[in-house]
């Protein structure tokens, strides 16, 4: 028999709602309303200084044949999958190394790895352009001082994409490391003790104890980093401006260009809606594939 839900008193019901209210108001005003506005705009032909005109699904039809949009879409997928994998692996390794609080200088290392995620991504992008630049870059200066020719970090399409993926990993792994550390510290130590008594190797313990119990944290990291990577713009634009050619141009940059350079707000909104749907589908897939049993509770 289904247990009857107990009704709390008025204060117990209303107090949490009141605490949530400011956040809800901000969420509705700045997320929900603009999202619906964007959806409405995607059915319009509209310049920033001209009146909107309803055009039905014409913008979405045009998207289907827009080769630049699909190039940026493919680039975004490649970047997103690569960055999410990199972030999960690197930040998990860092978290495993720095979780115990027992190594010397561990807090300093945590701070060092975390600091890049606090910086403006534009500043990070500009700084790395100074490091990876073909002619003026520090790295190529070192390579040339040893007699090399220099490497086309940002002028070769594949290397440029690799560079922005690695720099993104560098910039963001500290943030996800902190999330993993909190997840690792929540795993009861007696489970490790039992595994040790049973003669489990560290590798086996990781696969059979740590990883299954970290599943919900992994899901959080994957979902957050997927959403962030689909919306990546500042760092990549500061590093490569989307080039060479279209090699590192992602959907968000194309949305910006179409909206503000070409003055086609409706068409740009249609692109944003597609991006929102893709992010939604990816996020839903991650929840489905991660299964219902999220924790060890």
């Amino acid at each position: 028999m289904k247990p009857k839900r107990q009704k709390g008193n008025f204060h117990q019901t209303i107090t949490p709602l009141l605490f949530l209210l400011p956040n809800m108001v901000i969420f509705v005003l700045f997320i929900i309303v603009p999202a619906f506005q964007g959806l409405r705009m995607s059915f319009m032909r509209w310049g920033i200084f001209t009146d909107p005109k309803f055009v039905g699904i014409a913008n979405f039809k045009e998207l289907l044949g827009d080769s630049v949009f699909w190039v940026t879409f493919r680039n975004t997928l490649v970047y997103s999958v690569s960055v999410v994998l990199l972030l999960v692996v690197v930040s998990l390794i860092l978290a495993l190394l720095l979780k115990r609080n027992s190594l010397m200088g561990e807090k300093i290392f945590r701070a060092v790895f975390y600091i890049p995620s606090l910086l403006s991504m534009i500043a990070v992008g500009i700084a790395w352009r100074f490091v990876l630049g073909d002619e003026m870059g520090v790295l190529n200066h070192v390579v040339r001082s040893f007699g090399g020719d220099g490497i086309n970090w940002l002028t070769d399409g594949r290397l440029a994409m690799t560079s922005v993926i690695l720099v993104s990993g560098w910039a963001l792994s500290g943030y996800y490391m902190v999330i993993f550390i909190s997840g690792l510290q929540a795993i009861p130590t007696d489970l490790y003790e039992a595994a040790r008594i049973d003669g489990s190797t560290p590798w086996k313990t990781f696969w059979l104890v740590t990883l299954p119990l970290l599943k919900s944290t992994v899901l959080v990291v994957v979902v957050l980093s997927t959403i962030a990577s689909f919306k990546a713009y500042e760092l990549i634009f500061a590093m490569t401006k989307g080039g060479p050619g279209y090699a590192t141009k992602f959907i968000v940059q194309q949305v910006y260009q179409v909206a503000f350079m070409e003055d086609r707000m409706g068409y740009a909104s249609a692109m944003s809606i597609v991006l929102m749907v893709v992010i939604g589908v990816f996020t839903a897939m991650q929840f489905v594939f991660s299964g219902k049993d999220q924790g060890y509770e």
Partner: protein, 417 residues
């Protein structure tokens, strides 16, 4: 009794008039804070404040709230402010901004006695940029700009080339020959030329090779023409043969930094670079030279302007400030201190240095065909300019041919007509 009533009425009227005049005077002296939006090529925002210092001293009720925005974010920010109904009172804009924003600017007419007299004070090309499609003046020209070539004179001297003299008549073939000699004669010089990563600077080569963006009636894009194709192919050849570093158009490195570092012999930038190079180049001597001739000799005219908006809160005061800032005395001071070409026809700017450099820019501007300004004024050219840059890069990488690139640009632009 009647007399008394009459006297009292007169007194009452006089009192009302007196109070009304007093209130009016008080209102006119009410504090006004003008929001001014600015971008810097070098130190222009500081010089602007210095230039209007006397105006502010004479008008203590006027305060300036200056907001300096990075050029890369400037247009987007302005557009969002305008569309949100909250534009600044005064903004510095380029001719490219004008192409997109001109309909939102407040006309000068109505704030001056004779707008035609105002127009005659400025260069015709600058006035053309500042007028809308109905011929209404909506901004004050401040600086004229010209695209052109700046060279490392020391490097050319080391190669035994009198670059100033050679440039008086040189063609692109002669420039190439000289550039290869300069690279051979200087260990540090690796490249012959750096061109700013903008379609505007690329258009310098395009116009020189006889190319253009549109048909002569400006009724359609006509990027597919022999001159434009020749320019793209020449640009690719220079990249492929190592005369131009790939890092600028493929890797978005700053060409001015490459020039300042002394690793490129020439830079196609513009008159605004003079100020920057005066401040930053210490290791070698540089000069402005004439543009090499292709099919024609051409620069690309442009300019900077100051404007107020239809929805600005303090239009009266903004227009007064703009008129003062653009008069002969203030404009000369501003252009002298920022090392810019004046947009005024009566300007006699006494630059502390670089007079010959400015003169060369001016001479090339006089040889530049008028259609170059008209094309850059067209909103469609402005809208597809980033797409043009992308297509040129696609050619440089080798992903598409020049023919395919111009075809794509014409197709894309056709959707805007």
């Amino acid at each position: 009794m009647k007399k008394l009533v009459l006297v009292l009425s007169v007194l009452l009227l006089a009192t009302i008039q007196l109070f009304a005049a007093g209130a009016q005077e008080k209102a006119s002296q009410e504090e006004v804070t003008l929001s001014v939006m600015w971008f810097n090529d070098a130190n222009e925002s500081d010089v602007f404040m210095d230039t209007i210092a006397d105006y502010l001293a004479e008008n203590p009720h006027v305060k300036i709230d200056m907001q300096v925005v990075a050029f890369s974010d400037y247009e987007q920010k302005l557009k969002l402010m305008i569309s949100g109904g909250n534009p600044p009172d005064v903004a510095r804009v380029t001719n490219n901004h004008l192409a997109a924003l001109i309909s939102s600017l407040e006309p000068i007419e109505g704030y001056v006695d004779d707008v035609k007299a105002v127009e005659t004070q400025f260069m015709p090309a600058s006035v053309a940029f500042a007028k809308d499609d109905k011929g209404i003046l909506r901004a004050y020209p401040t600086e004229a700009t010209a695209n052109g070539m700046i060279v490392n004179k020391t490097a050319f001297d080391n190669a035994g080339i009198d670059v100033a003299k050679l440039s008086e008549t040189w063609t692109w073939d002669q420039w190439e020959e000289a550039a290869r000699k300069v690279i051979a004669a200087n260990d540090k010089i690796k490249y012959g030329l750096a061109v700013d990563f903008t379609p505007h600077r690329f258009s310098t080569l395009m116009f020189q090779m006889g190319g253009r963006f549109m048909n002569s009636e400006q009724s359609a894009m006509q990027f597919n023409n022999p001159g434009t194709l020749a320019a793209i192919e020449m640009f690719k050849r220079y990249h492929d043969t190592g005369l131009i570093p790939k890092s600028v158009w493929l890797g978005s490195e700053n060409p001015a930094e490459l020039f300042q570092a002394g690793i490129v012999a020439s830079h196609i930038g513009g008159s605004w670079n003079i100020n920057t190079y005066n401040q930053n180049v210490k290791d070698f001597e540089w000069i402005v030279v004439h543009n090499p001739k292709g099919a024609i000799v051409s620069s690309v005219p442009g300019g900077k302007f100051i404007a107020s908006f239809k929805d600005s809160k303090n239009k009266e005061e903004a227009q007064r400030l703009m008129a003062v800032f653009s008069d002969k005395t203030h404009n000369e001071q501003y252009c002298r201190d920022t090392f810019n070409l004046s947009a005024r026809v009566d300007s006699e700017v006494q630059y502390p240095s670089n007079s010959e450099d400015f003169a060369r820019f001016q001479i090339d501007l006089t040889k530049t065909p008028a259609f170059t300004a008209n094309e850059w004024k067209h909103p469609v050219v402005n809208k597809v300019s980033t797409y043009i840059r992308e297509q040129v890069v696609e050619v440089l990488i080798g992903n598409i041919s020049a023919q395919e690139a111009v075809k794509r640009v014409d197709e894309r632009a056709a959707t805007f007509f």
